[in-house]
Amino acid sequence: MLKVYLVEDDPLVSKHVRDALEEAPGIRCVGHASRLDQARSELAQCRPDVLLSDLGLPDGDGTELIGELSHAPAIDGVWHPHILVFSVFGDEARVIQAIEAGADGYFLKGCTADELIRAVEQAARGESPISPAIARHLLKRFRDDGYSDSGFREPSFGPDTAPAPLTGPMDLEAPSRSDTEVNAREHAVLRLVAQGYVSEEIAERLLTTPRQVATHVRNVYRKLQLGQRARAAGQANSRPNWA
């Protein structure tokens, strides 16, 4: 049984989501908060597998909550939810901020119940959704941040050489270059997403599976988080520790 916790202040949306979740087999909505502080106090007890969070809330930004969850040591060493944020069109920059803070993906506000269930199940499997706009933002972000000197090459169509997904946010002691830069494979995925291909088509083009493509996307998100944290640490130490 997949436990889902919802943070959303709009009652209409909230009801729609909860109804959709309750109707789905194998999914249970274990809680619902309309404010950040309520979510903070309830989450530790509920320990959901998936957290669905809105970004703009009455008492703060959902990104804060996501950041706290990602930076705190995992409760009992095991619990850490998969986090999806609500997105409306045109807020890709906010979505990427949330991803940097530790979110694993997003889903569209106003999507159908089927799509919502699918997004939740994918997130629980460790796959991350992505849109062309977000892919474009990510490509720009990695290019602007100076990642391009080693990571960006034309995609190679050889056997899948992508590294295994990172195990979690705990192995952060010394982020190496490959931990914070997209590799050629991930770059190819981002490019194809930005060009409008969906994951099935990308998998076909890269001779891999849709699931593997989704894993690539999640790895890209993870690297974005690591890069963000390393940058923050570098700013604190006045010198990036991977340089």
């Binding site: 009652p11 209409l12 009801k15 729609h16 069109f89 045109g90 106003g110 999507c111 159908t112 799509e115 699918r118 849109s131 062309p132 706009a133 474009r136 997403v193 930005a194 060009q195 409008g196 291909y197 969906v198 994951s199 099935e200 088509e201 076909e204 849709p210």
Partner: protein, 690 residues
């Protein structure tokens, strides 16, 4: 006119006059008590002997005389009481010898060789004690002269050497050193003035330079003993005095702007007359001619003085005043010399005229400095004025530029706002109106007032006839989705950054794919690599997206297709071909189990307003739109030639050759990529990936 210039003028003039007075006062010092000035002599000429008074100027006493005469002077005993005694001859010429009691002290040749022109050089000669008698000493002076070279004998001094020495020194300073000083100064200033005249192209300085050099020549020519004078040299030397006055008058008049052609002609005529007078004087040995020459020159000076004074008064010109004063002094000095030499015939007297050049040089220097200062100030003022004007013009230009730019900016904002409003009105507005209409329809069918079905509170609305409501509600949802997409497209078109068309299409796909999927249409994405970098401006991109959206909407509404292909290909010339193709006919045929129709039924032809809109947009992009059937269904093809819609004309390397089909013909049914074969319309529809 500021009060300063006259002050300066007076101060300068006063100091000059003081200097001159000092010189003359020194020369006219009181004679020593025991030295004696001899004023009487016996003249021995042609064997006859007669007493004469000294000084004896031949020009007055014997103008026609040429040759040698002898003066005999008796030396008084009292003057020889304190040896060593000496003889002081201030002036004697043109050549002379001396004999004391018959013993030759100095032969004529010695004098000539030693000191230059004798009539311009004083002589101090010690009297040898051995040659002196107790009393009744006789001095013979053998004097040879040439007419027009001012021959004659001044008074002669005899007395103790130490008393006569200072007299000699002073006179020597005046006659010899003074002359060379004047000549040198006049040469230097004259050369400078001529250089200035040449460089600045100013006639006024040429006059002064010529006058100055002429005076220098006159000074040095009279000072150097070149033997007997030639007649031409004599004429020129005498004429040079008048010419000097003429040139200086021209200079002064030009300096104050009064050198009219008539004045110039008159002065030139006088210069010629002066030359004639000098020539007549030499030719006819007539001293009157020389007197006339000098009087004429004085008259020129007086006339010039009058003109300058009038000018100074009328124009309040300090330069004219200064020049008038210089002329006054020069004229007065000239008149004094005329009186002394031409009327009194004081042969040994000092000439003052030679020093007038110093005064004139000082005036010129002052005027030059003054003019330089004035023109510098004028230039500075002009420069400042020019800078001010340039600055004000620049500021004006800048303001105009700012205003233009502001207008342009306002215009751009206005037209952008117009465009957004139009897009909103055409796109979003229409869809919202449609949504409203649908809401009304739903309300009507449900038979309840328009209240939100799922209002907060959680209790479900009373069950309605779901089957009847399903279709309008689905349409309402689609319409609202459309609204979101429209809003998104309008917002995207505000982006100023150019971005690849492929990415814009990708985002559109992301928005419309759920709708397509819900309608049972699978979208196959076929973007050629060569076309993936093509970029369009935001507003052009919006047109393309609208066309694609309209085409996809048509597929959903009319085609009954199961698969739709979106193809983007690059043409060899840099243009783009974008096609939306469906398999509606084949799908319909397979559903109805009937062969493909030989002609396209009218019901399938989706045209009307949607198609017209697409064509209008294609035209505004500079491209063409073809819409028509193809063997499997319907094809909408947008062709953007290179250069249209902001596409570059450059042929990018690696662009594939143009397709074999002629332009505008819908692309053939089978997709270009081999691995997409299984996605071709004929293939059965693969299951949705979940």
């Amino acid at each position: 006119m500021t009060p300063r210039p006259p002050d300066c003028v007076f101060r300068t003039l006063a100091s000059l006059l003081l200097a001159l007075l000092l010189v003359f006062a020194a020369a006219a010092a009181q004679p020593p008590p025991s030295a004696v000035e001899l004023r009487e002599a016996l003249l021995l000429e042609n064997g006859r002997e007669r007493p004469v008074m000294l000084p004896d100027s031949w020009e007055a006493s014997a103008p026609q005389r040429r040759g040698t005469v002898r003066y005999r002077l008796l030396l008084p005993d009292v003057a020889l009481r304190w040896p060593p005694s000496a003889l002081f001859v201030p002036r004697a010429g043109n050549a002379y010898g001396l004999a004391l009691n018959g013993q030759t002290l100095l032969s004529a040749g010695d004098v000539r060789r030693g000191e230059g022109e004798p009539s311009r050089s004083p002589l101090l000669l010690p009297l040898p004690a051995g040659a002196l008698h107790e009393s009744g000493n006789v001095l013979d002076i053998e004097l040879s002269g040439e007419p027009w070279r001012e021959p004659g004998l001044s008074t002669v001094w005899v007395g103790p050497m130490d008393e006569l020495q200072p007299l000699y020194a002073r006179l020597h300073d005046h006659q010899v050193r003074g002359a060379w000083l004047v000549a040198a100064s006049a040469t230097v200033m004259g050369a400078l003035a001529l250089l200035l005249a040449w460089r600045a192209r100013r006639f006024v300085y040429a006059c002064f330079g010529a006058a100055s050099l002429l005076w220098a020549w006159r000074m040095s020519g009279m000072q150097v003993d070149g033997g007997p004078w030639t007649p031409l040299g004599t004429v020129l030397l005498h004429a040079s005095y008048a010419w000097f006055a003429v040139l200086m008058a021209l200079y002064a008049l030009a300096a104050v702007g009064r050198d009219t052609p008539g004045v110039r002609a008159a002065l030139s005529a006088w210069a010629v007359v002066a030359l004639g007078l000098a020539g007549g004087m030499v030719a006819f040995e007539a001293p009157l001619a020389r007197t006339l020459l000098l009087i004429g020159t004085l008259l020129v000076a007086v006339w010039l003085l009058a003109v300058l004074l009038v000018t100074a008064w009328r124009q309040r010109s300090s330069a004219a005043l200064l020049l008038a004063l210089a002329t006054l002094v020069s004229g007065a000095v000239g008149a004094r010399d005329f009186w002394v030499f031409r009327v009194l015939h004081a042969y040994g007297a000092l000439t003052w005229s030679r020093y007038t050049i110093l005064l004139l040089l000082a005036v010129l220097a002052w005027l030059l400095v003054d003019e330089f200062a004035r023109s510098s100030a004028a230039l500075l003022a002009l420069n400042r004025d020019l800078l001010d004007r340039v600055a004000s013009k620049e500021a004006e230009l800048q303001r105009a530029f700012e205003a233009t730019r502001e207008r342009e900016r306002a215009q751009a904002v206005l037209s952008e706002r117009d465009r957004i409003l139009r897009e909103m009105h055409d796109g979003l507005g229409g869809r919202l109106v449609a949504a409203l209409a649908l809401t009304a329809q739903v309300t009507r069918q449900a038979g309840v007032p328009a209240v939100p079905a799922d209002a907060p509170g959680g209790t479900a609305a009373p069950p309605l006839d779901g089957a009847a409501l399903e279709e309008p509600l689905r349409e309402l949802k689609m319409t609202l989705d459309d609204c979101l997409v429209e809003l998104r497209l309008a917002l995207d078109s505000l982006e100023t950054e150019r971005r690849p068309l492929v990415e814009a299409l990708g985002e559109l796909r992301f928005r419309v794919e759920p709708t397509l999927r819900a309608a049972g249409v699978r979208l196959v994405w076929q973007v050629a690599d060569a076309a993936s970098e093509a970029e369009l401006p935001a507003s052009e991109t919006l047109h393309v997206l609208r066309i694609v959206r309209e085409a996809l909407t048509n597929v959903i509404k009319h085609a009954r297709a199961s698969v739709a292909w979106l193809r983007l290909e690059a043409r060899a010339d840099g243009g783009l071909v974008l096609a939306v193709v469906d398999n509606g006919l084949r799908q319909r045929a397979s559903e109805e189990q009937s062969p493909l129709p030989l002609f396209v039924p009218k019901t399938v032809v989706h045209g009307g307003r949607g198609l017209a809109n697409m064509e209008r947009r294609a035209r505004s992009l500079g491209g063409t739109l073809e819409s028509g059937p193809h063997p499997e269904g319907w094809a909408v093809t947008l062709t953007l030639p290179a250069g249209a819609a902001g596409l570059p004309v450059l042929v990018a390397p690696g662009v594939r050759p143009p397709p074999a089909e002629p332009e505008g013909v819908p692309l053939a049914g089978s997709p270009p990529h081999a691995r997409d074969d299984r996605l071709s319309p004929a293939a059965e529809r693969p299951a949705e990936a979940s």
